[in-house]
C-alpha cells in the first residue's frame, strides 16, 4: 500500500572533471513509497529548479533496467540496497521514513567524473572495440540453422550476454577491475561456434586493452557478482582466464 516518507539526501556535487567535489545535503518530503529512486531524484531536481538552483546531473535513460545508463552508488552499494536490479528499478519502499541516503557516482580511475553523478564509461566501448565481436561483415553468412548449438551452451551464452555494461562490477571492486564485464563478453562468444574461431585472439586483445585503460586486476573477492544487476556469475572469469591462458600458451 502506498505511503509517504521524508528523507535527507547527501549528494555528491562536482562541476567538472577537474573541479573539486563535495557532498551537499537536501531534504525531500512526502515521497511516495511506490515511486522509483530516480523519480525521487526527479522530484528533488524539480524542487531545485523551482528554487533557481542547478539540478543534479545523473545518467539514466530507459528506466527499465536494460540500457545500463543509470549508475548511482547508494549507501555504499552500486544500484542501492535491493538485489538483482539497477538504480532505475529500485523503489522507495526499500527505505525508511527519516532515513539519510548517501548518493555518489561510480568511483574508479578508468571512469572519470564528468559532472555530479555522471561518469565517463567510454573505456568499456574501447574494450569491446578491441575484440568483443565476431569478425563478420554484413551479408554472405550461412543460414541461421546451418550450425546447431546445444541448448545448454546457448543458454549459458545468453546468461553472459545479459550484461548491460553499467559498470557496477567496477564500482563494487576494491581494485576497480573490469574482469566481470570482459569475461561476460569473452565467455558468451567462446561458448558459441560462431565466436570460437577467434576466441584466443579476442581474450588477449580485450584483456590487454582493459589493462591499458587503467582497470585493476582481479583478486577474486566476488563483490562484482554480488552487485551485478543481472547476476552475471564469476564463473565467466574462470573461462576468461582459461581462454587467456590458452592464447598465451599458443604464442
Amino acid at each position: 500500500m502506498e505511503k509517504t516518507i521524508n528523507l535527507t539526501l547527501k549528494v555528491w556535487r562536482q562541476n567538472g572533471p577537474k573541479e573539486k567535489g563535495r557532498f551537499e545535503t537536501y531534504q525531500v518530503s512526502n515521497i511516495s513509497t511506490d515511486s522509483s529512486f530516480l523519480e525521487m531524484m526527479d522530484i528533488l531536481n524539480e524542487q531545485l529548479v523551482n528554487d533557481n538552483q542547478e539540478p543534479i546531473a545523473f545518467d539514466h535513460d530507459c528506466r527499465e533496467g536494460i540500457c545500463g545508463m543509470c549508475s548511482l552508488y547508494i549507501n555504499g552499494r552500486p544500484h542501492g540496497p535491493d538485489g538483482e536490479i539497477t538504480t532505475c528499478q529500485l523503489h522507495m519502499r526499500k527505505f525508511k521514513d527519516g532515513e539519510t541516503i548517501t548518493i555518489e557516482p561510480w568511483r574508479a580511475a578508468a571512469f572519470p567524473i564528468i559532472k555530479d553523478l555522471i561518469v565517463d564509461r567510454t573505456a568499456f566501448d574501447k574494450i569491446i572495440g578491441a575484440g568483443g565481436y565476431v569478425s563478420v561483415n554484413t551479408g554472405g553468412v550461412p543460414d541461421a540453422n546451418a550450425i546447431p548449438i546445444a541448448r545448454p551452451a546457448a543458454e549459458e551464452a545468453m546468461d553472459a550476454a545479459s550484461c548491460i555494461g553499467c559498470g557496477a562490477c567496477v564500482a563494487a571492486c576494491k581494485n576497480s577491475s573490469a574482469m566481470l564485464f570482459v569475461s561476460a563478453k569473452v565467455s558468451q562468444l567462446a561458448l558459441l561456434p560462431q565466436g570460437k574461431v577467434e576466441a584466443k585472439r579476442r581474450a588477449k586483445a580485450m584483456v590487454s586493452k582493459m589493462d591499458e585503460l587503467g582497470f585493476g586486476g582481479c583478486t577474486n573477492t566476488g563483490a562484482c557478482e554480488v552487485e551485478c544487476p543481472k547476476s552475471i556469475s564469476i564463473a565467466h572469469i574462470s573461462r576468461l582466464n582459461r581462454e587467456y591462458l590458452k592464447s598465451r600458451l599458443s604464442e
Binding site: 528506466r63 540500457c67 545500463g68 538483482e84 565481436y133 541461421a144 540453422n145
Partner: protein
C-alpha cells in the same frame, strides 16, 4: 510534383527489390573512401547502417546523445523479431509475412516497401546468428520460434525477454569493430541541433557536445537520420527518457515532409499509471499475451469492490470473469493486434469494469501455470515477472498482473521514398524515424525487423544509388556560409531559451502537454477534442516560450537546456499530430476517430477518401503547414476490413 515520387521499381511485387538492385548505381571501392556519410543515432537502424557502410569502405561519422552507442532505446525491446523462415513448418512465407504486415497496418503502408521488408527478414536472422546473438534454441540445437499478435504462425525469434538488447549488442559490436578499424568515427554525448542544406542538398549537421556545450559543424556527402520515434510528446510513454523527435523536427523545418504524424501506437500491456510523480511507463512484453489471459470482472459491483480493496481478483470465480478479447475475437483471442487490444481495454474501463485505479485490466497466468507448470512460465518470462514485482510489489505468479495501454511507438515519421530518401536530396531516414513500413499500426516484433532491415540490407544499397553521382564532389569545408549561418541560428535559439528566465520547469510544461495529448490525441479522438487540443497546444507553446525557467548557462553540461530544446520540438510535433488526426476523418489502426466506427465498435476506414499518406510541409513559424497526399495504390492486395474475429 517530385515530392510524391515514391520511386517504386517496376515489375511484379516479388521482383521489385531484385530489379532495383540489379539496375541501381554502385560506388567503386576507391571512391567509397572519398565519401563521408553522417549517421545520427545508434539504435538498431543507425548502428547496423554505420557498421555496414563502414565495412563497405565509406567514411562514416556516427552520432549519439548517449554515453555509448549500446544505450539506444532499441535495447529495451523485449519480445522478439519476425522473419519468414518458416522453420516451424506452419505455413509461413515471405508473402504471408508481407500480407500480415500490410493487414496489421490497416492498409495504410506501401506494398512494395513492406514486401521488401519481408524479403530481407530472413537474412537478418542469419546475420545476427553469425554475430553470436544467443537466440533461444530447442534441445536439438535449432532456433526456437514463438507466436505474436496479429499472426497465425510462429515466426518470432527471441532471446528470452531481451531480444532488442541482444540484437542491438550484435550491431553495436559490429559497429565498435569498425570504430576500432577507423572506418567509423563515433561521437558520443553529441546531439544533432540543425541540418545543413547546401544548394538544395543535405550536406551536414550542427551538433551540440552535451558535455562541453560546444557547437560543432560536420560535413557529410549524405546525412542519415536514425533517431527513433516521437512518443515522448506524451511525456509519459514507454520510450526512454532521452528519446526525442528533435531530428525529425529539424528535418521538417528544413523542408522535409512529415508523414502520418497522427499514427502512434498505444501498446496494450504496460504497467498502469499510479501517481502524478511518475516520470516513465514500463512496458510488459506483448509476448506475455501468448500465455496470459486478459480479463476484467463481468459484474460492475465486483469491479467496484476490487477498486475499493474489498475483493481480490483470485476470489472471483471463472463464471464472473469477462475474458473480453476471447469473447469478442475468438479467432485471435488474446493475440489480436495491439491497436485492437488497447481499444478493447479502454472500452471496458470506460464502461466501469476497470480494476486498480479504474484504468487497468488483468493479465492472468493461472491457467498457463496450471497447464505448463511454474517452471515453464518462469523460463519464458522470468525476467519480466521479476521486473513487474520490483515495480509493483506484487507477485504475478500468484495474483494477476495489472496492465493498461500506453504510448509506445510512432508509425508516422519523416517521409521517405522507396530508397529511404526524404524529399531533400541526400537526407535519408531509417528505422522508427521514417514512416515507411507499418502503416497505421505496427505488429509486434516488427520494429526490430524494420530497424535492422533498413540498416543492414536496404540503406547500404540505396544510399549508393545517390552517392554514385557525388563521387566528383570534394569534401566541403565547414567554413562555407551555409554552415556558419546554421550554427549562428542554433546559437541564437539556445540564447533565446536561456534568456526567458520564467517561472516554470521544463518538466511541468511537458506534463501539461502530455495530458492534452493523452486526453485528446490518444486512444479515442474526435473532431471537437482535436480542435481543443490544437488550441491548448498553441497556449502551451506560448507559455513555454515566455515562462520556462532553465538554470545554468550554455557552456558545459546543462540537462535542463537539453530537455527544453527537445520540449520545444515536442510541442511542434504535438500540434502536427492533432492537425493530422483532425484531417483524417476515418479510423484506421492506431488512429481511432470516435465518429467512424462500426456498430460493434471496430475501426471504420474510409478507403475512398483517405487511402493516402498525409505529408505535411512546413510553411514557417506562424503559418499553418500544408497537406500533400501520396495516394496509396494497392496493386496486389485487396483492401479489406480487418477481421480478427
Amino acid at each position: 510534383m517530385s515530392v510524391f515520387n515514391s520511386k517504386i521499381p517496376e515489375g511484379p511485387l516479388a521482383q521489385k527489390w531484385t530489379n532495383y538492385k540489379d539496375h541501381q548505381k554502385l560506388v567503386n571501392p576507391s571512391n567509397k573512401r572519398k565519401l563521408d556519410v553522417i549517421i545520427v543515432g545508434t539504435g538498431l537502424a543507425g548502428a547496423s547502417a554505420a557498421a555496414s557502410l563502414g565495412e563497405m569502405g565509406f567514411n562514416v561519422k556516427n552520432f549519439t546523445i548517449q554515453d555509448s552507442p549500446r544505450r539506444a532505446h532499441s535495447i529495451a525491446a523485449q519480445g522478439g523479431i519476425n522473419a519468414a523462415k518458416n522453420y516451424p513448418n506452419d505455413g509461413d512465407s515471405v508473402y504471408r509475412l508481407f500480407y500480415d504486415t500490410i493487414k496489421g497496418g490497416d492498409y495504410r503502408a506501401r506494398e512494395a516497401n513492406v514486401h521488401r521488408l519481408a524479403e530481407v527478414s530472413n537474412a537478418i536472422i542469419d546475420q545476427c546468428v553469425a554475430q553470436g546473438v544467443p537466440f533461444a534454441r530447442e534441445y536439438g540445437g535449432l532456433l526456437d520460434n514463438r507466436s505474436f499478435g496479429g499472426a497465425q504462425v510462429s515466426r518470432t525469434f527471441y532471446a528470452r525477454g531481451q531480444t532488442g538488447q541482444q540484437l542491438l549488442l550484435g550491431a553495436y559490436q559490429a559497429l565498435m569493430r569498425q570504430v576500432n578499424a577507423g572506418s567509423v568515427k563515433m561521437y558520443t554525448r553529441n546531439e544533432l541541433v540543425e541540418i545543413v542544406i547546401v544548394d538544395g542538398k543535405a550536406r551536414g549537421i550542427i551538433t551540440r557536445d552535451l558535455v562541453t556545450g560546444k557547437l560543432e559543424r560536420h560535413f557529410g556527402h549524405a546525412v542519415v537520420l536514425a533517431t527513433g520515434g516521437y512518443g515522448n510528446t506524451f511525456f509519459l510513454s514507454t520510450n526512454a527518457m532521452g528519446s526525442n523527435g528533435s531530428a525529425a523536427v529539424k528535418a521538417f523545418h528544413k523542408g522535409a515532409m512529415f508523414a502520418n504524424p497522427c499514427m502512434a501506437q498505444i501498446h496494450p500491456t504496460c504497467i498502469p499509471v499510479h501517481g502524478e510523480f511518475q516520470s516513465k511507463l514500463t512496458l510488459m512484453s506483448e509476448s506475455l499475451r501468448n500465455d496470459g489471459r486478459i480479463w476484467v470482472p463481468a459484474k460492475k459491483e465486483d469491479a467496484e469492490a476490487i477498486r475499493a480493496g474489498k475483493l481480490k481478483p483470485t476470489e472471483i470465480g471463472e463464471e464472473d470473469r469477462d475474458y473480453y478479447l476471447e469473447r469478442r475475437y475468438p479467432a485471435f483471442g488474446n493475440l489480436v493486434p495491439r491497436d485492437v487490444a488497447s481499444r478493447a481495454a479502454k472500452e471496458r474501463c470506460d464502461a466501469g469494469y476497470g480494476v486498480g485505479t479504474g484504468l487497468a485490466v488483468y493479465l492472468d497466468f493461472k491457467s498457463s501455470i496450471d497447464r505448463l507448470g511454474k517452471d515453464v512460465i518462469e523460463g519464458r518470462y522470468g525476467n519480466l515477472f521479476q521486473m513487474y514485482e520490483k515495480i509493483v510489489d506484487d507477485n504475478p505468479y500468484e495474483t494477476p498482473m495489472m496492465i493498461y495501454p500506453a504510448i509506445h511507438y510512432t508509425m508516422g515519421g519523416i517521409w521517405v521514398d522507396y530508397e529511404l530518401q526524404t524529399n531533400i536530396p541526400g537526407l535519408f531516414a531509417a528505422g522508427e524515424a521514417n514512416f515507411s513500413d507499418h502503416g497505421a499500426n505496427r505488429l509486434g516484433a516488427s520494429a526490430l525487423m524494420q530497424g535492422l532491415a533498413d540498416g543492414y540490407f536496404v540503406l547500404p544499397y540505396t544510399i549508393q544509388n545517390y552517392l554514385a553521382d557525388d563521387i566528383r564532389m570534394p569534401r566541403m569545408t565547414t567554413e562555407e556560409k551555409e554552415f556558419v549561418e546554421a550554427e549562428k541560428a542554433v546559437k541564437d535559439r539556445f540564447e533565446k531559451l536561456l534568456s526567458i528566465q520564467g517561472n516554470r520547469s521544463v518538466d511541468s510544461i511537458h506534463k501539461e502537454l502530455g495530458l492534452v495529448m493523452w486526453d485528446f490525441v490518444g486512444m479515442g479522438r474526435n473532431a471537437e477534442g482535436l480542435k481543443k487540443a490544437i488550441k491548448r497546444i498553441a497556449e502551451i507553446k506560448k507559455e513555454f516560450w515566455t515562462n520556462v525557467r532553465i538554470p545554468g548557462n550554455k557552456e558545459g553540461m546543462n540537462v535542463e537546456l537539453e530537455k527544453a530544446s527537445r520540449l520545444a520540438d515536442f510541442i511542434e510535433i504535438g500540434a502536427l499530430m492533432a492537425r493530422d488526426a483532425l484531417d483524417r476523418e476515418e479510423s484506421c489502426g492506431g488512429h481511432f476517430r470516435e465518429e467512424y466506427q462500426t456498430g460493434e465498435g471496430e475501426a471504420l476506414r474510409q478507403d475512398d477518401k483517405f487511402a493516402y499518406v498525409s505529408c505535411w510541409e512546413y510553411k514557417g513559424e506562424d503559418a499553418e503547414p500544408a497537406l500533400h497526399k501520396e495516394e496509396l495504390v494497392y496493386e496486389f492486395v485487396e483492401m479489406l476490413q480487418r477481421n480478427y474475429k
